[in-house]
């Protein structure tokens, strides 16, 4: 186990959990239900999101064995059948409206066992979830070729005209009935919306009118594959042709291992509405040339070109030295669709070398460090406010609509708040426009603490602003609250004076700060003042209105102060 963990770590995989079927059921349903479940050890492995070739056991084992130099990377071959003998998939023009692209291939004389069969189905599901974006971009269908006969037609028809027996059902249904049938199915109902409201649904027929599938929902029962299937017709339909090609390549390269002629795939011809034809799978092998100096430089190692070529070959990128020994030619197999730039090749070389074998060095870059003035001011104020006897709080920037509007006696439209489109709970509906609710909620959660409670926070609030490039901006606010048996307006006022003193702003009207009595919806009438400095209003202070206090579930009087500190940077 330790060894395997090490290997995964080096290769770039995460061994998440070592468990067994019995353990899984125990955890989810209790030990009783787990009796009789398999005890064989299961490894849960996390695969990086861009390595589609490692999503199934076959690919994973192949990759690791090449990495450990136990086997050579297999060469995937495309066999083009003699003229007229290959399978053909004809695409009609109706599909353009709903699911324009399709690719196909054949796995000839394949040998399935229960494990391989399960793995085959599993890979399709994983690809559906990953690169196919839950079947929206590409949908995979695999069919028993011996139950059908080509040429096949991929077309689109009105729902009422499509009728067939879906997989594992006992009778025929029309497409509209199928939609209703699977509306409650926990697995398939998520895909119904992909075609539900279109006028035509995609469907694949064979030459006798037998339905292979109605992508992306479900295959026909007639063509379902089993452990005894010998010839498989694979088709991928979708809205993204690049991804459809990658998906097809992955499936056939992975499972052609079990064909009678290992790693060989029989090609199929796709005919487009305009008459053009294309042979699939592409199984393209791309050649890239990379200079060994580049690889060495980027990683910080110095390996000879031939050892670099060996490292890359271990990562399934067959390479050899060319030129006068100053160039490396790399062949990128169809399983490595994630290699799109020389830097991807550099990373693979580094992985093969072993990240932890690279010498760590410090860059010789000389730079002068600077603190952002706004943050510097915030840090300085923080220390002095704590010295004044106030405790700092750090609260959430997202809150509910009531928090910044109704509970403070204001209307939400007056707040210019930024609104979230998809909050998971009501607590995260808007971004805060004031720090006050956060502090009041903090007090509410700490009512048992001894009085007085003196809290402050210096943090960002968010408001809409049409002048910025995104339409909103942050302001750095400072807010303090004093919660006690008596409201303590004089204490909050004193704190304001102290802050102004620290900011070196004199208490006069021309070049300093003043306060003027005003009304505020959150404040007690006659106990509220607006603070002016640097020619603008920067905030308010006062005793909070009893309504506000009650709405935040507090019971004692409270005074508060909130100002924008950005003008003082």
């Amino acid at each position: 186990d330790e060894e395997f963990n090490e290997l995964c770590f080096e290769f770039g995989l995460e061994l998440d959990e070592i468990t067994s079927e019995k353990d899984i059921i125990s955890k989810e349903k209790g030990e009783e239900k787990a009796k009789g479940a398999s005890d064989t050890v299961l490894y849960k492995i996390d695969v990086p999101a861009n390595r589609y070739d490692l999503l199934c056991l076959e690919g994973l084992v192949r990759g690791l064995q090449v990495f450990k130099e136990r086997i050579n990377l297999p060469r995937y071959e495309k066999i083009i059948p003699a003229q007229g003998e290959g399978q053909r998939l004809i695409i009609t023009e109706e599909t353009v409206q709903v699911r324009p692209h399709a690719v196909a291939a054949v796995l000839r004389n394949i040998n399935f066992t229960k494990e391989r069969y399960d793995s085959f189905i599993d890979l399709q599901e994983k690809l559906h979830q990953n690169i196919c974006r839950r079947r929206a971009l590409v949908a995979i269908g695999t069919h028993d070729l011996d139950t059908i006969s080509g040429p096949f037609t991929f077309t689109a028809k009105a729902p009422s005209e499509i009728k067939f027996k879906p997989l594992n059902q006992s009778q025929e249904y029309t497409a509209s009935q199928i939609m209703d049938l699977y509306r409650t199915d926990s697995h398939l109902r998520h895909y119904l919306h992909l075609i539900e409201n279109k006028p035509l649904y995609p469907v694949i027929y064979d030459s006798n009118g037998v339905v292979l599938s109605m992508p992306p929902i479900i295959n026909g029962d007639h063509t379902k594959i089993s452990v005894n299937t010998r010839n498989v017709f694979v088709e991928c339909t979708g809205t993204d042709i690049t991804k459809a090609k990658i998906v097809l390549d992955i499936i056939v390269t992975m499972f052609s291992e079990y064909c009678e002629k290992p790693f060989s795939v029989e090609a199929a011809e796709v005919v487009y509405p305009n008459g053009k034809t294309h042979i699939y799978p592409e199984l393209a092998y791309r050649k890239e040339k990379v200079k060994p100096e580049l690889i060495n430089k980027k990683i910080g190692i110095s390996e000879t070109p031939s050892s670099l070529a060996k490292l890359l070959t271990r990562m399934c990128l067959k390479s050899h030295v060319t030129g006068n020994g100053n160039n490396i030619e790399i062949e990128i197999p169809p399983t490595r669709a994630d290699i799109i730039h020389a830097c991807d090749i550099v990373e693979d070389a580094a992985i093969a070398y072993g990240y932890n074998n690279i010498q760590m060095t410090i860059p010789k870059t000389y730079t002068i460090a600077n603190q952002l003035p706004l943050n510097k001011l915030t840090e300085l104020l923080r220390l002095d406010l704590a010295a004044a006897g106030f405790t700092e709080a750090l609260t959430f920037a997202l809150c509910s609509q009531e928090d910044i509007a109704d509970k403070l006696g204001m209307d939400i439209s007056a707040t210019k708040a930024v609104r979230i489109a998809n909050p998971k709970t009501a607590e995260f509906q808007v971004a805060r426009t004031t720090l006050l609710p956060g502090l009041l909620k903090t007090i509410a959660a700490n009512r048992k603490m001894p009085l007085p409670l003196k809290l402050f926070e210096i943090s960002d609030i968010v408001v809409k602003d049409p002048n910025t490039d995104v339409g909103a901006r942050n302001y750095r606010h400072f807010c303090a609250v004093y919660y006690n048996k008596s409201p303590g307006f004089e204490i909050i006022h004193g704190l304001l004076d102290r802050v102004m003193q620290l900011l070196e702003v004199p208490p006069n009207e021309e070049n300093g700060y003043t306060i003027k009595a005003t009304e505020g919806s959150a404040f007690f009438p006659g106990r509220c003042a607006e603070i002016f400095a640097k020619g603008q209003s920067i905030g308010k202070l006062g005793v909070l209105h009893p309504d506000v206090i009650t709405k935040f579930e507090l019971t004692m009087p409270c005074s508060a102060l909130e100002i924008n500190i950005e003008p003082f940077v």
């Binding site: 760590m360 410090i362 943050n375 930024v418 995260f428």
Partner: protein
């Protein structure tokens, strides 16, 4: 290391994802992981010339890359969201650096809040803080990155480090940094890093 300006929680998909080579069909851009905004829903302004370059690299490739080869849509890039990582601020800063007349090496850092649309539990919050560092210079290597990280973590008192290959859409090579936690008696992930893609 100089501090980067990060005082904008609201970011456009362009700076948060597209400029960082994260494809528009990537799961992280889904409703599930990102807080998209209802109001303001779209960013009014995006840098025109740069946007055209980003579009080309995603859909056709460029700078030595094959690209993703899909249809890149401007409306998708305009969608506003609450930033999911402070790397969007790094992207802005690097863009400014690129527009300077003469290149000067820089080291930037930031520590600020990010937002992810996740349910709260013992190890996950919807809002949390990230520490981010960027070094830009000629001739930097993976070894330099590892060295810098080692020094950084040593100052935090974390000395046992191992590096694991990882994947980020915008860095290649990428590494996750693991440290041995004596209390839990196992290696835990303490950071993520990488060399920005050309």
């Amino acid at each position: 290391f100089t501090e980067m300006p990060t005082d904008n929680f609201v970011e456009s998909s362009f700076w948060n994802f597209d400029a960082l080579f994260q494809p528009q069909q990537h799961p992280a851009r889904d409703q599930h992981d990102t807080f998209f905004l209802q109001d303001p829903a779209e960013a009014p302004e995006l840098p025109a010339g740069y946007t055209a370059k980003v579009k080309k690299v995603h859909s056709q490739g460029g700078y030595g890359s094959q690209g993703y080869k899909y249809e890149w849509r401007l409306e998708e890039a305009r969608r506003n969201l609450l930033r999911t990582h402070t790397t969007s601020a790094s992207a802005r800063v690097l863009y400014q650096l690129a527009r300077q007349e003469k290149f000067s090496p820089v080291k930037y850092f930031s520590i600020d809040r990010v937002f992810r649309n996740e349910s709260l539990d013992a190890t996950h919050l919807a809002e949390f803080h990230q520490v981010e560092g960027v070094v830009a210079d000629r001739g930097l290597t993976l070894g330099h990155l590892m060295g810098t990280l080692r020094q950084f973590f040593t100052k935090l008192g974390i000395t046992q480090l191992r590096f694991k290959p990882a994947y980020n859409p915008y860095t290649e090579p990428s590494m996750e940094v693991f440290s041995y936690h004596k209390g839990l008696k196992k290696w835990v992930e303490v950071g993520n890093s990488g060399v920005f893609r050309p």
